[in-house]
């Protein structure tokens, strides 16, 4: 059927950005994030010079001497974002289906307590595995995931089948699970956690320089493959495609971002003292002048995997299609034969599983389980999803948006902490930013009709 002389139809773009077919909201968010980074970079630069007693009049020197965009701070920023970002990807599904989940912070605490008790009491003592047995971490994580999914499914059942509003069910959950966690740990801090378990915490578990580069190379290859196969699919059906240069630009930008990110994380060097200890533990002597970078933290790797899985779920599966259809018009979804009540159960089960993963990262990061773990996280998670463009009226939201939202919130908070803004003022700023971001989003939607 193809007219060979004609070739593929190429969309005639109005301008450069339209040709790339990139979501302009995404660009806006990246712009906001870069602005925040720039402001804190300059601000920390000025602070540093003032502290040294020689404030230069040259703005470029402020930028160069800033402390915000150092490998060390970027590394810390990413590992601080992971826990909230993982839950925010699930919150997107919840909000898209016109629900809300106020219990994620408490659910995180219960999952964390379950995993902590499993690895310090149940498995080592009751099951006589002994501490630091290789099975302890995987079994504990499994129990955590089951706990999260079971509680999530229970919430979903109350909401979907008994038709209790999600706000009420999860508000109840907020009280219940926070204190179930307290009950499980008898109000005590439990630690230190299993060594293997701690690998998911961030600084205690990184891929190292070589494997980080391998990861970067694979990620670039996967991106290129995704772009090529998407284009090929459109061509086989004779659909219009983007101009080649637009595809190349997209692929190029993605490659630079991925490899740049890996390079920065690799540039954060492990302190000499710590390296020496690592060599001593292995019974070796550290060679003179040896140095190496941390590389990609395993927790960030976990977040990337979660992001990919959730994006595929949202865009390429029936479940995802039904979640968005239900959000757009619950009645239409029902009339189309979708089992809407079971759908709600599945959505909350997914959130439960993600809370368990977030609990793994959060407790491993602090190397122990504490009673206040995840306190107020529900608000951070909802804020991240909403700043990321998820509409509370349902039907609209993206996974990458929620992750960027979490990153923006975390960078604001860390940045303010670095320049010496007190915690109460930080919260005031974050609250204002949340409201402001949603207002911008409303204006944007009004203009574009999206």
């Amino acid at each position: 059927m193809t007219d060979e002389a004609q070739g593929p139809t190429i969309v005639k773009p109005r301008n450069f950005l339209a040709a790339l077919e990139v979501d302009t909201r995404l660009l806006g968010m990246i712009g906001a994030f870069l602005m925040i980074c720039l402001v804190f970079q300059v601000w920390t630069g000025i602070n540093f010079q003032v502290l040294r007693g020689e404030l230069s009049g040259n703005p470029l020197s402020w930028l160069v001497e800033g402390r915000f965009l150092t490998p060390r701070n970027i590394f810390n920023l990413t590992i601080q974002t992971v826990s909230v970002a993982i839950m925010a990807t699930g919150m997107v599904f919840v909000i898209v289906t016109r629900n809300i989940d106020l219990s994620v912070g408490s659910l995180l605490a219960t999952c964390s307590a379950m995993m902590a008790v499993m690895q310090t009491v149940v498995l080592p003592d009751w099951m006589s595995l002994g501490l630091e047995h290789p099975l302890i971490a995987p079994l504990s994580i499994l129990v955590g995931l089951i706990t999260g999914m079971a509680i999530g499914a229970f919430h979903g059942w109350l909401i979907g089948y008994l038709t209790i509003p999600a706000f009420i069910v999860t508000l109840g959950g907020l009280f219940v699970w926070r204190n179930v966690a307290w009950h499980l740990s008898r109000g005590q801090t439990i630690g230190p956690l299993d060594e293997n378990f701690q690998l998911f915490g961030g600084i205690n578990g990184t891929l190292g320089v070589t494997w980080s580069w391998v990861f970067g190379a694979l990620a670039v290859a996967a991106t290129v493959y995704a772009l090529v196969s998407a284009r090929r699919a459109r061509l086989t059906h004779d659909f219009p495609v983007k101009p080649i240069w637009a595809e190349l630009t997209l692929g190029g930008v993605a490659a630079v971002v991925i490899l740049g990110f890996v390079a920065v994380l690799n540039a954060y060097e492990v302190p000499v003292g710590r390296l020496k200890r690592m060599f001593e533990d292995r019974g070796e002597v550290m060679p003179e002048g040896f140095s190496t970078g941390y590389g990609l933290p395993i927790s960030v790797f976990l977040l990337i995997v979660v992001a990919i899985v959730m994006t595929v779920l949202a865009q390429r599966t029936r479940l995802g299609r039904y979640i968005f259809a239900y959000g757009g018009n619950p009645e239409a979804a029902e009339l189309a034969g979708i089992r809407t009540r079971a759908l709600i159960v599945k959505v909350f089960m997914i959130v439960g599983a993600l809370c368990a993963l977030a609990a793994l990262v959060a407790s491993a990061r602090q190397t122990f389980h504490s009673n206040d773990i995840g306190t107020l996280d529900e608000l951070r998670v909802i804020a991240a999803a909403v700043i990321g463009g998820t509409a509370l009226s349902g039907g609209i939201g993206t996974i990458y948006g929620a992750i960027l939202g979490a990153l923006i919130m975390q960078s604001l908070q860390s940045g303010m902490a670095m320049v010496g803004v007190d915690a109460p003022y930080q919260n005031i700023v974050v609250g204002i930013v949340l409201v402001f971001a949603v207002w911008i989003d409303i204006v944007y939607r009004g203009r574009t009709g999206g």
Partner: protein, 261 residues
């Protein structure tokens, strides 16, 4: 305009016998019996609240019946949800309800019946290709395949809904005021489509308020009032006024004069 009489000697395509549905003591549908034969359009008429939509929703599976029987090709069937109705190739075109505004035309057309790749993932390209084919026949000028249906006109939205019924080979079609949101030209398009579907032997229940349109499109009309069936008449045997009399007074033609004497 003269109409060929529909052959009603065989088994009806669908028969709804003695259907009942109550909402908290109010009998929305009270022992109503209607049927439709292959290639026939049956108008379901009545005021707002007469029970037309409730009756049809029991056929489309959106509501469960309290009592009565549904027969498809003479055999009793159980329709308890929209999925059951689809299995008997009963499709519904709702006035506004049945599109998810945030999804594009292809996602809506295939909602609940997506085409998937062998690995189980959505095959959006294939669905878009099929949508282009079927929508191209109905509305040749349609181009907006990749935007949410929110941005489409009433007629374009309606053609998405109609495409859905046509694409999945409906045998029985329920149209709930299909032209209510449409302009003159689009209404004519729907009328032509109804004629075409009739020729294919599809049975259509048409809920409509527009008497003129009913006279033009339907072969028979079943009139309801306060949940009860007033009567079913052959359109060829009645006038506009007869139908209006049935809707307003709740009496069959002939009966009204008899009472007046």
């Amino acid at each position: 305009m003269s109409k060929e009489r529909v052959d009603r000697s065989g088994t009806p395509l669908v028969e709804m016998r003695d259907m009942q549905k109550a909402f908290g003591g109010i009998r929305a549908v009270d022992h109503v019996t209607v049927d439709v034969y292959p290639g026939e359009v049956v108008g379901i008429l009545g005021h707002n609240g007469a029970g037309k939509s409730v009756l049809m929703k029991m056929l489309s599976g959106a509501l469960q019946r309290d009592g009565g029987q549904i027969l498809v090709n003479g055999e009793e069937v159980q329709i308890n949800n929209p999925r059951d109705a689809r299995n008997y190739q009963i499709e519904t075109i709702y006035q506004y309800l049945a599109l998810a505004d945030n999804l594009d035309a292809a996602s809506n057309l295939f909602l609940g019946r997506e085409i998937t790749t062998p690995a189980g993932f959505l095959d959006d390209a294939a669905m878009e290709a099929e949508t282009r084919k079927i929508m191209g026949q109905l509305t040749p000028n349609f181009r907006r395949y990749n935007t949410p249906v929110k941005g489409l006109s009433g007629g374009q939205r309606q053609s998405v809904a109609i495409s859905r019924a046509v694409y999945f080979n409906a045998k029985i079609l329920i149209m709930d005021e299909p032209t209510a949101a449409l302009g003159v030209e689009e209404t004519r398009m729907v009328a032509e489509l109804v004629d075409e579907l009739k020729k294919k032997g599809i049975g259509i229940f048409l809920i409509d308020h527009d008497i003129h349109q009913v006279m033009q499109l339907c072969d028979r009309a079943s009139v309801m009032k306060n949940g009860r069936l007033v009567g079913t008449v052959d359109i060829a045997d009645v006038t506009d006024d007869d139908l209006l009399g049935m809707i307003i007074l709740g009496k069959k033609p002939g009966q009204a004069e008899a009472d007046a004497v």
